[in-house]
């Protein structure tokens, strides 16, 4: 931290002490005396009409205070409505809890409130619900079949969203192509699986007519907006307070029906009500993600140059839309071309409702993107018998091509894909690997290397949402205050769930104010304190939050120095700066102490305002908003080495290396941790994770014994090489990161497996790359001998 630079320092996290000692305060650690416990009775059927509900016995059970269904909740709350004006997207609506029909296994039907959770679950055993079971649609194709049962009977069919786009002249490029290459990619259904499940505690103050909602949520203000509206309250009647969050990954954004139910019950019963879902509920009924099939057709010349590309995505969105159904696949389609020059492009996206848990964004909602693009490049290389690295080089944008308008109109700038590619290959030493691979293959050991060049869309300014037809704002807000003692407080609308904001944002605020970051306290998650921002999602925290706090801290620094100049009898603050909590003055080229501390200035600003410059407001606070560029892009090159055990089909990741360029880094320690965590989530998804529904819509993934998360044994050490190409449009020079790792691993792992299995002439086009799937590819196949690389 020489010369007052705190941005970019590898400071250890100030959050850590409370977490390593078990003194973090998560939702269940917030004690609310007299609170009741809610438990939900959920549908055992994928699709059924509710004929009757008998709760007479349950009401008599020990400790039961209330049992409510969708009927009561319809009187207390406003139904959900999602109707953004987006072409091809159908408007949807549904009640707070289902009244007539359940749409997936785990759909909540009743809420039982009791003195404690054990008693509420006991009472659930005494409930009888009579269902008329309906035929279920359990996958995309059956959802779109003629005469398919309707998941949402208010709609004419299950096609919830359909959008197409064409730019250039793909038809002509296919007519002119020397070859046309087709490839397909099946990404399985996954779920976020934060180690802390969902939960909340609602407190209704009848005297003040005020609702306080304790909940771990990534976006406290947008959440409050929704909660207030659905409760028929004004936003001034609702306070959302987020305690520490035990992981979120996109699952803790929406206002879920259970949470609204708990809030409504707290008001109806005039008692605090809390809810903690168990792991089975979290896996079955919280939110799912992904499950899409992407198909590409590429028009290519004999050198592997891409002339035109067509993309088809079909996504299985589940039964309920807590997000616009076009949102996730749309981003994939918009950024597919990544680091490549693709002049002619068309996409077609279909999203279907099915009788499964509703989908939402999971860390890297666009996770499939790089796999699709890089897998397409590799399919081209296989078809033309070219080196896949060469095919990348032939198509990849170079520095001279930037800024580059992607075929969908997004502006790609300040990225370094070629540098990252070459650096990654060199760091991995691909030449040495090929020699080792050949030698091992002769002994029946099948190694492969996988590459994945990632262009990660991050930060998402308002202009992007508008252009993409996705409702929402991309702005963020923050304030910084210097208190009369000189203590520094700051706040931002984001909420942390492990990203270390209390450390990195303190670093950002500290720099213009010339204070030790340890003296800056970041306050988040309380909507009465924090300003209205759009919260944590889309790898926007560092860039949107860092930029807005930098802007506020700079404004405050200017004010402090203006006051200091007046106090020192100077005409201008031009030769003053803040350093080590003191005001310094440049005299003869050297900075010397001006005899004033930051605390001295703060004292005057608050307690002796007549000494301020004429017309200046007392106090030291600055509130700023910031709307980032439409999109910032980070880029990365992932290199993954795997070994495939051919007899068992087991894939072992033996080495993982990434070259990543996310611009200015606020704290390299924390950024590397985010990159490693994202890569691990990608590897875990590529190898293990899968929510399995059978053909009747029965969910077979209700425990961690079924839904497998990678442990320390499956995840290899992850080497990170950093590049720092500054983004010239953000205030800090940073771009976002923390989702690209998922994208890269999702692409690099199958690429490596395909390289390992090349001698067998098979191509994996599905995830997870489970032993069963790998064996299904290899069954009846034999190594066709050397040269089949």
């Amino acid at each position: 931290m020489t010369e007052g630079r705190t941005i970019g320092a590898a400071l250890l996290r100030r959050e850590d002490y409370r977490f390593v000692t078990g003194q973090g305060r998560y939702l269940d650690d917030v004690v609310v005396p007299g609170s009741l416990h809610a438990h939900f009775v959920r549908s055992p059927h994928a699709h059924a009409r509710i004929r009757s509900i008998d709760v007479a016995a349950a009401r008599q059970a020990e400790g039961v205070v209330a049992i409510v269904s969708g009927r009561e909740l319809a009187e207390w709350t406003t139904p959900y409505r999602m109707a953004p004006p987006i072409e091809g997207l159908r408007a949807v609506g549904f009640p707070t809890l289902p009244i007539d029909k359940v749409r997936f296994i785990g759909d909540p039907v009743l809420c039982i409130v009791a003195r404690d959770r054990y008693l509420a679950e006991d009472a659930a055993e005494l409930v009888t619900i009579d269902y008329d079971v309906l035929e279920a649609v359990a996958d995309f194709d059956s959802a779109l079949a003629a005469d398919a049962p309707l998941v949402d009977e208010a709609l004419p069919d299950n096609l919830i969203s359909h959008q197409s786009f064409t730019t250039g002249d793909p038809g002509r490029s296919f007519a002119e192509a020397e070859v046309v290459v087709e490839a397909s990619f099946h990404q399985q259904r996954q779920t976020h699986a934060p180690i802390e499940t969902r939960g909340c505690c609602a407190i209704w103050d009848q005297g003040r007519q005020h609702l306080t909602m304790h909940i771990g949520n990534q976006v406290p203000h947008p959440f409050r907006t929704q909660l207030a509206a659905r409760m028929r309250l004004s936003e001034s009647q609702v306070t959302v307070i987020c305690p520490d969050i035990g992981g979120a990954f996109g699952q803790k954004i929406a206002l879920y029906r259970e949470e609204l139910t708990v809030a409504a019950l707290a008001r109806a019963l005039r008692r605090p009500v809390r809810w903690r879902e168990d792991r089975a509920e979290n896996l079955i009924a919280a939110s799912h993600a992904r499950e899409d099939v992407a198909r590409t057709r590429t028009a290519v010349n004999g050198h592997g140059r891409i002339l035109g590309l067509e993309l088809e995505i079909s996504e299985d969105f589940g039964a309920y839309c807590f997000y616009p159904a076009n949102y996730l696949a749309r981003v994939v389609a918009m950024i597919l071309s990544g680091p490549y020059r693709i002049p002619n492009y068309a996409y077609d996206i279909k999203v279907a409702l099915t009788n499964k848990c509703g989908n939402g964004p999971m860390r890297a909602p666009m996770a499939i993107t790089s796999w699709v693009m890089e897998g397409t490049i590799e399919a081209i290389a296989r078809r033309l018998s070219l080196d896949p690295v060469e095919v990348r080089r032939v198509n990849m944008l170079g520095a001279a091509d930037l800024p580059y308008q992607m075929p969908t109109g997004l502006l790609l700038e300040d990225v370094t894909p070629r540098e990252a590619l070459e650096r990654g290959l060199q760091a991995f030493d691909i030449v040495a690997f090929r020699a080792r691979q050949a030698a091992d293959r002769a002994c029946g050991i099948y190694r492969g290397v996988g590459l994945c060049c990632v262009v990660e869309s991050t930060t998402y300014g308002s202009a992007f949402y508008k252009a993409a037809g996705i409702p929402g704002s991309g702005h963020e807000s923050g304030w910084v205050k210097i208190e009369p003692s000189g203590a520094v407080n700051a706040s931002v609308g984001l909420m942390a769930s492990g990203q270390g904001y209390e450390t990195t944002f303190a670093q950002v605020v500290a720099e213009p104010l010339g204070v030790d970051p340890n003296e800056v306290r970041i306050h988040m998650g309380n909507t009465d304190t924090a300003p209205y921002g759009m919260g944590s999602r889309g790898a926007r925290g560092g860039t949107a939050g860092g930029s807005v706090l930098l802007s506020a801290a700079r404004a405050l620094s200017d004010k402090v120095l203006t006051i200091a100049a007046t106090l020192l009898g100077l005409n201008t603050s031009g030769e003053l700066r803040l350093h080590a909590s003191r005001v310094e003055r440049r005299l003869g080229g050297a900075w010397t102490d001006a005899g004033l501390s930051l605390a001295d200035v703060a004292r005057v600003a608050y307690l002796d305002p007549l000494r301020l410059p004429p017309g200046m407001e007392p106090g030291l606070e600055a509130h700023r908003s910031y709307d980032p560029p439409p999109m910032t892009f980070s880029n990365a090159m992932h290199v993954c080495e795997v070994c495939v055990d051919v007899p068992t089909g087991k894939v072992t990741v033996e080495r993982y290396l990434v070259v990543e360029d996310c611009g200015t880094v606020l704290n390299p320690l924390i950024v590397r941790g985010q990159q490693q965590g994202a890569i691990a989530m990608g590897i875990s998804g590529a190898l293990l994770e899968e929510i399995v529904y059978d053909e009747n819509g029965q969910n077979r993934s209700g425990s961690f014994a079924d839904y497998l998360l990678a442990t320390a044994v499956e995840i290899p050490p992850i080497e990170v090489i950093s590049q720092h190409t500054v983004n010239r449009k953000t205030l800090t020079g940073s771009k976002g990161m923390s989702e690209g790792g998922v994208m890269g691993a999702t692409g690099a792992v199958p690429s490596a497996v395909n390289d390992a299995l090349a001698p067998f002439g098979v191509v994996a086009e599905r995830q997870p790359l489970s032993p069963m799937y790998i064996r299904s590819l290899l069954r009846g196949r034999a190594d066709r001998g050397p040269g089949q690389n």
């Binding site: 996290r13 977490f19 078990g22 269940d28 934060p194 180690i195 965590g677 425990s703």
Partner: protein, 164 residues
């Protein structure tokens, strides 16, 4: 309903005796958190996979979510609150902090408890042994890389600190 009636339970936790009145079916994890106020033990899955609730029962790592409180009587229970609460972090806690071996922190208490006990038995582990020992604790944030580095560092510090 007599089998559900609360019974007196005496628990020896971190060297202190706790007397609670709880139903025999109550999980040790719930009794630690709700009846004893020791909320550092976290509940992540309630079926023994995630490891967040790990405590020591007579020194051995044990899932508090798979143990009834009544079963834990007459045993010495050690929870995360026994480590570093006085400001002196244990070797594993200190190394997790230095190596950025935690993000959201929810799984961290289980990892501290598990690995402190394991290092006492395995003072000089390889990275592969650390990964194997850590495989009973799920972490969704870090990708384990920095946790493994932290455990190796804590092991080295423990060795330096020991008289032999």
């Amino acid at each position: 309903m007599s089998q559900f009636d609360p019974v007196p339970i005496v628990l020896d936790i971190n060297g202190t005796q706790y007397r609670v009145f709880a139903e025999p079916r109550r999980l040790l994890s719930d009794v630690l958190r709700d009846d004893c106020g020791l909320t550092g033990t976290h509940v992540g899955c309630e079926h023994g996979v995630c490891g967040a609730c790990t405590i020591l029962l007579d020194g051995a790592p044990t899932r508090a979510c798979l143990t009834y409180a009544v079963q834990a009587q007459h045993h010495e229970i050690t929870t995360i609150e026994a480590f570093g609460g006085d400001g002196n972090l244990s070797p594993v806690q200190q190394a997790l902090h230095e190596e950025h071996g935690l993000q959201c922190g929810f799984c961290t208490p289980g990892i501290v408890v598990t690995m402190e006990a394991w290092l006492a038995e395995n003072p000089d582990p390889t990275d592969a042994e650390i990964r194997n020992a850590l495989s009973g604790n799920l972490c969704r944030c870090t990708g384990y890389h920095n946790i493994v580095a932290a455990i190796a560092k804590a092991a080295a510090r423990r060795r330096e600190g020991s008289p032999t």
